[in-house]
């Protein structure tokens, strides 16, 4: 054996360990924590701005106003898992009398809910979202429950034969019973030999297809799979591949039918870019945005080889801009540096709204760079990271009018969902982290789900 080499390697590692131990741990931890939170925000937001350094800022906080009563508090803990018939009928999302498809799981760690009725999933829109909740308990296996959440805070338990052990809910196609389920044990983002996804009917458990990343040896990494959402049940598989040139990656994308056949495939394309969220589909399913650091690269989902039409800002100097978030439909936020080449550390940027379906780009604001953007009614809201203060991010109203903070007491920086003209955000209340819906126009809030994030009782995975 090669004990000498083994010893030398350990000596080198130990030496570097001692050196690393001399760093300012608090500063490192703060910076890393901010990075993790920013990534989580983007994940929940669906897309984010180009990779950005964390910027400092000041937030103005005003009094929280509440326009709607909170959901009643969770029931007192009971020692065992039981199931019971769901509560009485409610009018949403179907108008007919509700007949629950299954029983509701009752557990001290789980929230109250109603049973899903036939047609609820099919009647749902993008205002609704699915979330998978696992109770933190000594039970083996722990209860894992899928909920359909509505704009007013409705919670319906989705009866499903799907086993969630080692799996996670990756995407759902609103208006259908179709979901994409990933293999959590495989930690796809950590390995090139990515674990497969399955496309299945969540109510019946029927698997329509299994999706794998082609050719693990080809070097494609960080694959993502999402529903296209253009009226079909197709999915988009996207990944990036590193190159020998620093900062340049090769994008791969293919559109798959529900039976797994390839509908169309993008010619591998090389751009300045990174490895997070390689591609995101527009809310109307018509376009796919390729994650780049410089310039904006979009493709029609119907023909991945075609450049998208539509006027972008600064067409004479595309290197001044970088993509932001999808705002809705075919509308994309684009960030540009007014002073030259795009710079992720620029403190003042132009935020544009670009409708890829046509029309001239609209300058929304010239002001702080935001990491993610959302359209809520007539308003465009951005999330602005910062290192100082009680919160690590603030929400800014980018349009209409002058850029100004959206005051939310206890805002923790995560925007989970946009629904019914409101943002669903994390709000700190003492040791609890609640899910709260906020109307950015009025500041009115509604407590949707108390103590659900950072909870010692449940682990939650909410879809964007």
């Amino acid at each position: 054996m090669s004990e000498k080499l083994r010893g030398l390697l350990h000596e080198l590692s130990d030496h570097e360990t001692r050196v690393a131990a001399t760093a300012d741990t608090d500063a490192v931890a703060d910076a890393l924590r901010a990075q993790v939170r920013r990534h989580r925000t983007r994940r929940y937001a669906g897309v984010g701005a180009a990779a950005a350094a964390v910027a400092a800022g000041v937030v103005a906080v005003s009094t929280l106003t509440t326009s709607a009563p909170p959901i009643p508090a969770e029931p007192d803990p009971t020692p065992t898992v039981t199931v019971s018939p769901g509560p009485g009928p409610t009018p949403e999302p179907t108008a007919a009398p509700r007949v629950p498809l299954g029983e509701v799981t009752v557990h001290p760690a789980l929230p109250t809910a109603e049973g899903l009725a036939a047609g609820d999933l099919e009647a749902s829109t993008s205002d609704w979202t699915l979330t998978l909740v696992e109770a933190i308990t000594e039970d083996d296996p722990p209860p894992r429950v899928l909920y359909l959440l509505g704009p007013e805070g409705q919670r319906y338990e989705v009866p499903t034969p799907v086993s969630w052990e080692g799996r996670y809910l990756d995407d759902w196609l609103p208006g259908t019973t179709l979901v994409l389920v990933g293999d959590d044990a495989g930690a796809p983002e950590l390995s090139r030999a990515a674990a497969p996804w399955v496309l299945l009917d969540v109510l019946t458990g029927e698997v329509l297809t299994t999706i794998t990343v082609p050719e693990p040896d080809s070097g494609q990494v960080l694959p993502t799979v999402d529903f296209v959402g253009d009226g079909t049940h197709d999915v988009l598989l996207a990944s990036v591949e590193p190159t020998d040139a620093p900062g340049r990656v090769i994008h791969h994308a293919r559109r798959l039918a529900p039976d797994g056949t390839v509908v169309t495939e993008m010619e591998p394309s090389t751009f300045e870019g990174g490895f997070d969220a390689p591609a995101t589909v527009s809310p109307d399913g018509a376009w796919v945005l390729l994650r780049t650091w410089l310039g904006v690269e979009v493709r029609s989902t119907s023909d991945l080889s075609a450049d998208a039409p539509g006027a972008l800002p600064h067409t004479e100097a595309p290197e001044r801009c970088a993509p932001g978030s999808w705002l809705g439909g075919s509308e994309l936020a684009v960030l540009c540096n007014p002073d030259g080449r795009w710079d992720v550390s620029a403190e003042t940027v132009e935020t544009w709204a670009v409708d890829l379906a046509g029309g001239a780009p609209t300058l929304l604001a010239t002001g702080p760079r935001t990491d993610a953007q959302w359209r809520v009614g007539q308003q465009v809201i951005g999330s602005h990271s910062r290192l100082e203060g009680d919160s690590w991010a603030e929400l800014l109203r980018l349009s209409p009018g002058p850029v100004e903070p959206v005051a939310i007491t206890g805002f923790e920086g995560s925007v989970r969902h946009v629904s019914g003209g409101r943002l669903w955000v994390d709000v700190r209340d003492g040791d609890d982290l609640d899910l709260v819906a906020v109307d950015p126009r009025t500041g009115a809030t509604q407590l949707l789900w108390p103590d659900v994030f950072a909870s010692d009782r449940v682990s939650i995975r909410m879809l964007p």
């Binding site: 054996m1 090669s2 000498k4 080499l5 083994r6 030398l8 390697l9 350990h10 000596e11 080198l12 590692s13 130990d14 030496h15 570097e16 360990t17 001692r18 050196v19 690393a20 131990a21 001399t22 760093a23 300012d24 741990t25 500063a27 490192v28 931890a29 890393l32 924590r33 990075q35 993790v36 990534h39 989580r40 994940r43 990779a51 350094a53 696992e134 933190i136 996670y168 959590d184 930690a187 983002e189 950590l190 390995s191 090139r192 030999a193 693990p216 040896d217 070097g219 990494v221 590193p242 020998d244 040139a245 620093p246 900062g247 990174g274 490895f275 950072a454 909870s455 682990s459 939650i460």
Partner: protein, 185 residues
């Protein structure tokens, strides 16, 4: 189960130096090693998953270090722009405080191609057999044997013939070298 923030704090507080030390075997350059380890930490915690304890998280992070290195994910240089945040003691960081052996093995590793280096570290530091190295790095076993063969041949030149001795044949993990450095596994 602890919150992810609790696991994160424990990992960064107690295990970050060792993770940087591990990353240094791959990245060679100290700044790159910090980049590699820090990005692996971020990637591991960025996604909601059941990280029940620091040990589980560390296993994820070490795996991320390995795959990120081989995938050249470090080319983003994310952390280079934040170097000022990480204040270190200069005299401890300076190379002259490292032993000659440390400098030698660092230089020897630096002469290896990235995949050769990754295979060598997983084989001789992590004690993984060829099959597991192949699985970890997304390579075929044959490719791993080829990289290991080339790596050990170079290391024998750099560090001396006794640094990497022949291994017994007949096992999956064995990479037996001829005197010319070619493998016959």
């Amino acid at each position: 189960m602890p919150r992810w923030q609790d696991v994160f704090d424990e990992v960064v507080r107690d295990r970050r130096p060792a993770l940087v030390g591990y990353a240094a075997l791959f990245a060679i350059d100290r700044g790159d090693a910090e980049d590699l380890a820090h990005d692996a930490i971020v990637r591991t915690f960025a996604r909601p998953r059941a990280l029940r304890d620091a040990g589980t998280a560390e296993a994820y992070i070490r795996s991320a270090i390995r795959t990120s290195f081989v995938d050249a994910a470090r080319r983003r240089r994310t952390w280079s722009s934040k170097a000022h945040l990480f204040v270190a003691i200069d005299d401890v960081r300076s190379p002259e405080h490292a032993t000659a052996a440390v400098l030698d093995v660092r230089a020897a590793l630096g002469e290896l191609a990235p995949r050769e280096r990754a295979c060598a570290v997983l084989r001789y530091f992590d004690d993984l057999p060829v099959a597991e190295i192949a699985h970890e790095l997304g390579l075929s076993p044959g490719a791993v044997k080829r990289y290991l063969s080339d790596a050990t041949a170079r290391l024998r030149v750099s560090l001396g013939p006794d640094a990497v001795l022949d291994e017994p044949a007949g096992t999956d993990e064995a990479v037996t070298l001829h005197r010319d450095g070619r493998s016959r596994s």
